[in-house]
């Protein structure tokens, strides 16, 4: 009502001018906002010719068309508030609204005296300059400079109406770029911008709950457990492990492959050799592993060991577990530097006891020495026994 009264005081010429200024403020503001989000630095030249608000704002035809469409040839003042929305779209198609720039008018008037048109025009120019400065310092500016076809692009939309603030997420901020007093009210330019830059996944499916397995941490189902079980259980091996596409399923064991009675063989992990009759490839591997382990242990007491290795032409870098895989195109020679290295570190170092076995004569001599020392220390043992027996609290 008050707007109407104040407007009534204006002459037809003044109203027309105010309307024209407002229209161009809307058009130029839209240009400034969209220009600042193009992703590159802007530089316009000074010129002696006059332009709207005496600021050289580059005019993008598309933006001009969109802004004019929003105004729809009606009275510009009647179309306020008018908003420019800046949003981000990722290559995946997710969209996030970043900013809502809004030019509105409040029915606050001031007592003006004299010609106001020039003042309003100048103040609109200052407001537009402020808009140029502020567009460079909101968070979306930095995002706009980093945009690209392979990551994300920024989009704009011009619409008439109150700014849609709910699309900016929680904790959005509002900044007042500036305002100017006119005889019909206070024009204000504000920006509301998003502060939380996390894209929430679009709800494509109805059920977004994460699938949970209740037995996720069940140790009986862990791969290690399964693997151990396979080693023990022949059926598990046959069922669970697949044989390679071109692997030989049947293999005749030569007599040399069958392990002889090895001294201390009971210390080694027991294999179910009796099941080898089926000649399963996996078991074959296990057997090769065993031979290799023995060789590496270097007991030196097995006369047949050299025979095994010399005849074992099919064995490559076989190991005691399935950790090391046979790489395609790799050398078949097991004694390469890498193979040696692996074998050296995959098991405990050999005990000194096995590397240096004393001869019988040495052993006898050693025993005689021990007996001598025991005899000489006999008194000590007797004394100790006595002290133990005489101890008062002997339980």
């Amino acid at each position: 009502m008050r707007l109407f009264i104040m407007a009534m005081k204006l002459t037809a010429q003044e109203k027309k001018e105010l309307e024209k200024f407002t229209k161009f403020l809307i058009l130029k503001s839209a240009q400034v906002i969209v220009n600042s989000r193009l992703g590159y630095k802007i530089s316009t030249q000074c010129k002696s010719a006059s332009d709207w608000f005496n600021i050289a704002v580059p005019d993008l035809p598309e933006v001009l068309a969109d802004a004019k469409k929003a105004l729809s040839d009606e009275v510009a003042l009647a179309r306020l508030p008018l908003c420019v929305e800046i949003s981000l779209r990722t290559t995946e198609g997710d969209v996030m609204v970043l900013e809502q720039w809004c030019l509105g008018i409040l029915p606050e008037t001031y007592e003006y005296s004299g010609p106001f048109i020039q003042t309003v025009y100048n103040r609109m120019g200052v407001l537009l300059k402020s808009l140029v400065s502020v567009t460079r310092v909101t968070p979306a500016y930095k995002l706009s400079r980093r945009q690209g076809e392979d990551t994300y692009v920024l989009l704009y939309r011009i619409y008439v109406g109150e700014p849609m603030l709910h699309v900016l997420g929680d904790g959005y901020k509002v900044l007042r770029v500036g305002q100017l007093c006119t005889p019909i009210g206070t024009m204000h330019l504000t920006v509301s911008y998003r502060t939380k830059m996390t894209i929430s996944p679009t709800t494509a499916g109805k059920d977004n709950s994460i699938m949970l397995k209740s037995d996720h941490f069940n140790t009986n189902l862990s791969p290690r457990h399964v693997r151990n079980k396979q080693n023990e259980d022949k059926n598990a091996v046959n069922d669970g492990m697949k044989i390679g596409a071109f692997a030989c399923r049947k293999r005749e064991y030569k007599p040399e492959f069958i392990l002889p009675e090895v001294p201390l063989s009971n210390l080694l992990p027991k294999r179910k050799e009796e099941n080898c009759e089926e000649n399963d490839l996996i078991n074959d591997e296990l057997e090769h592993s065993k031979t290799s382990t023995i060789k590496d242990d270097r007991n030196g007491n097995s006369p047949s060991e050299s025979l095994i290795t010399s005849n074992n032409t099919t064995t490559t870098v076989s190991t005691s577990d399935d950790f090391i895989m046979k790489t395609p195109f790799a050398s078949r020679n097991a004694n390469t530097e890498l193979g040696m290295f692996y074998r050296e570190w995959q098991s405990a170092p050999p005990l000194q006891t096995f590397t240096h076995i004393p001869t019988l004569a040495e052993q006898v001599q050693d025993l005689a020495k021990q007996l001598e020392s025991f005899e000489s220390d006999m008194n000590k043992y007797d004394d100790m026994l006595l002290t133990l027996c005489q101890s008062p609290n002997n339980n």
Binding site: K41, I42, S43, T44, Q45, C46, K47, S48, A49, S50, D51, N54, I55, A56, R123, V126, L127, K129, S130, V132, S133, V134, R136, V137, Y141, K142, R145, L175, R176, V177, G178, Q179, L180, C181
Partner: protein
Amino acid sequence: MNARSQIFELTMEGRQVDEAVASLFHTILFHRSVGKFTYDGSNYSVGTIGYTDVDCDFIDLTYVCCTSSRLDRTIKKEISCFSELLRGNEGTGMGQISLEFFQKKPSRWLFQSECIPWEVWTVRLELISLSNEDERQVCREKVGEILTDKILYITEVMNRHDYVPKVPNQSELEHIFDTSYHDIQPYLFRLHYSLSGPSSGTSVGSAMKKLIKETLSL
């Protein structure tokens, strides 16, 4: 008439000083410049101001300035002198630089024309030294955020309904605007700077106060 005074207090690394001060002063001058006036008899037309985006090297910030190489040179030269003094060995790492807008009062008979400031923007600086790149990165972002707040404050002040000298007749134009630029027409302005010791200014002041108080109590 008392001049409006705005003071910004900032703490930063030495190498950030030039860009920080330039970003603030250029934003102010962008608002306080108009298009070049061209007179045709009693009528005049106002030219158009171009603007340029400037990326800072040592601060996470982009600011806007008038597209006027001469204005840029004038500003940068003064800021550079101040920065060198501030960062020099003899400096205390503290100082201030001011951008003052003034108008000239027409000279009367024998007296020279008087300069009356109507708006003063002061940047007080304190330098810090950082030890590693992580700290520098944090400082780079932090100073960018602080300057963003200051730029927003500048735009707020510019949109107030405060006093700005009226556009005069052609004969008195030089009393309000600097007409020496061929591309833009800023309000008359000047820069001045000074270094301050840790307590040199205040110690003299407090000593004087003490002296006066003692005199009065007698």
